[in-house]
């Protein structure tokens, strides 16, 4: 996006302006070519030719009122095409695998979830099974008129070049995750990339925000592990490639030993296993599912005209032990309430450090923390107010994600969509011989 190192040539102008127009279409409600031209500051003729290119590539549709009838009239309402290119997200986590297919508007159109103890069955079997689930989702998406283009796999670990270097909670080391997933996908022609689960969850959270909501926030994802994603003006901050490991920020230097080898890490106080243990509940490994994993499916057909489509939202389903913890806390169970207060305090210590260091306009807690927020937030806010310098903390800077544990898989699906929206010329150049 930042052409700082490139000269401005005609070709880079076309690329820049195609993206500019497509982003304007995405950001506007039913804008015409003329409106888009006025908003982006280009001539109507230039915008018309760019829109035509986007329309022919199947990225944009033009909705013409019934009584006019001619397709492509300059006065028609422009919108992203919800029956074109689609992104596929796959999330492999410790206790479930999830798949989501999103159309170009970012709307989730197919969702499949498989409950399984992925910690117990090894990388190869887990990824093969995840690939098969993704293949089923792609087939459903094609039946709904979509064209899956790009698969993004999210895993709770350190990822480099589509390989998982280390995913401690899955007990994976040096797993060629992209390649293994492709085998499970079968004979599908899809590009596959792999990313960290918390990074993708932050992207998912960003994409699900209402228009006008801030584009900079620190997202914290509670699962068996705890990850963070720093979103800066709508772009994920990746540091040297392994940013976001907030689960291993020290809370108490001489605290209990963590799986990572250090002591007193946040995960030891606020990770799902630590929480369940402190609340005297069984962890996921103790409530292992049977050999036939349970699959929940939701496929959604487009209804209504192009640009508008009805969606059946599947309820976000938490994992059984987290639901049990929430139920106990709601009943006022001492151990559950105490465990959540301790976790909230530890989260508050780690997050106040992150806020002092990074000053994100907002902090969003997601994953299992979304479900458990009512019991985490009081002690969390106390720490933030006490520890963020100069009393600059305001309670409304802390938000709870509306996506819960779905954020990562939705973000993974949206990642491919975003790539197209950012640089439509690359997609057009790639697909134009076919059109």
């Amino acid at each position: 996006m930042n052409g700082g190192g490139q000269p401005a040539s005609k070709q880079s102008m076309r690329r820049h302006n195609l993206a500019l127009v497509l982003r304007q279409v995405a950001a506007s409600e039913s804008a015409s070519r003329a409106t888009v031209a006025a908003r982006v500051g280009l001539t109507k003729a230039t915008v018309s030719s760019l829109v035509e290119e986007l329309r022919l590539a199947g990225l944009v549709i033009e909705h013409v009122p019934e009584n006019q009838g001619r397709v492509g009239r300059p006065g028609g309402a422009l919108a992203l095409n919800p029956r074109g290119a689609a992104g596929v997200g796959v999330e492999v986590n410790v206790d479930y695998t999830a798949v989501c297919v999103a159309d170009l508007t970012g709307a989730p159109r197919v969702r499949l979830t498989e409950r399984a103890d992925n910690r117990g069955r090894g990388a190869e079997e887990t990824l093969h099974s995840a690939g098969r689930l993704a293949a089923r989702a792609c087939a459903a998406a094609r039946r709904a008129g979509l064209a899956p283009v790009q698969v993004t796999l999210g895993v709770p670990g350190l990822v480099h070049d589509d390989r998982v270097l280390h995913a401690p909670n899955l007990d994976w080391r040096h797993v060629p995750a992209g390649d293994l997933l492709v085998r499970g996908l079968g004979r599908q022609r899809l590009a596959v990339s792999v990313d960290n689960e918390a990074n993708l969850a932050a992207i998912g959270e960003f994409q699900a925000r209402p228009p006008g909501a801030g584009a900079s926030f620190l997202y914290v994802s509670g699962e068996i592990g705890i990850g963070a994603g720093l979103m800066v003006d709508g772009e994920l901050f990746r540091g040297g490639g392994f940013a976001g490991e907030i689960g291993h920020v020290t809370v108490i230097p001489d605290g209990p030993e963590c799986g990572c080898g250090a002591r007193g890490c946040l995960e030891r106080y606020a990770g799902q296993d630590a929480l369940l243990e402190a609340a005297a509940l069984d962890s996921v490994s103790a409530t292992r599912l049977g050999s036939a994993p349970a699959v929940t499916a939701t496929a959604t057909r487009t209804g209504g005209g192009p640009g508008r489509h009805a969606l059946q939202e599947a309820p976000t389903e938490g994992s059984a032990p987290v639901e049990r913890l929430a139920a106990l806390a709601a009943e006022g169970d001492d151990a559950a309430v105490r465990a959540l207060a301790v976790a909230g305090r530890a989260l508050g210590v780690a997050l106040s450090g992150a806020v002092n260091l990074l000053d994100p306009p907002e902090v969003v807690i997601g994953g299992i923390y979304a479900r458990l927020a009512p019991w985490l937030i009081p002690s969390l806010q106390v720490q933030l107010h006490e520890r963020v310098t100069s009393g600059r903390w305001r309670s409304d800077r802390l938000r709870v994600s509306g996506l819960g544990t779905e954020a990562a898989v939705r973000g993974a699906a949206g990642a491919g969509v975003q790539a197209i929206l950012r640089d439509p010329s690359a997609y057009i150049d790639l697909t134009s011989p076919v059109l």
Copy 2:
């Protein structure tokens, strides 16, 4: 720099390309117009006209070999003009005030330092005095052929809109620092801006890096307070405006009370006062200087041809109590060595958290930590190796700043210079009526 939201027009192309050519001149050793054209990917004719514009504005010089004689020949070696626009940095810290004037190449040309207990004499007197010191430095710079354009003031506190909201170690609250400095400057026509001292130190550290060194690092500045600056691809990360307060990251949640109101902050273990106290040495307030502040001055004249100029480097002078601490540690004094090991451990806990969260390719310790590095680093490295996840820490990711306590004032001087290099068209449009 990022034109993502703007259409590419002729005017933005000129702006873009002027900056592109100027940056290429800055990055190259004696490149000709033809070489620059080849490197930036524009035609020779376009580059020649851009270079001419930069040359007329006094930003670029063209060095023609003796035996040719015609100025402006396309074959001449291009360089930034070291006798043109200059940036002025002013740093007001707890125990000193410093001024630096840098030419367009970033080279410091005038430096003045005044030792004073700024904690004791109030914001108005301190800033008036700093303004007078800056006026003296500007006069010396003009005598050396420079044209000071922009003053940047650095303070150890939270800054917003050229006002200091809170500088706890100076005991300032809501100080209109920019305005107060201007009064001390007298009848100088200079733009003044204010920034956080650690932010500017990170910029100074970046500007002083040898070509080829990484442009992404976390800089940690030890002074009475501790600040950090996260440099990402050569740009300072500012978050919501108050990023970098690493001194108030929690090291031990139930630790000793900090001036900020929280407990167990890094500053309570590794700030200058905490260090001196732990080593049983007097802090700066106890070694207060007399009423006549000591001033150290270094003015450097340009020698040699344009593009090359000799510089007399003034030795970096640490504060007396820090020098005493270093001397004691060098002698093996128990209390001094122990205090530094404790500080190094606390720094290691806070920095490993920052590394887990942000994964900066490098961490650079500066300010007083540069002088004290030999005794801080061993315990600091132990913590980093132990706490950075998955054993990804490598000792060579930790560097010691070569600038010591000079980084902030050098960065402040360079900030104005960088603004010109980034957008020369703004400078040209501003100054062209005069030329």
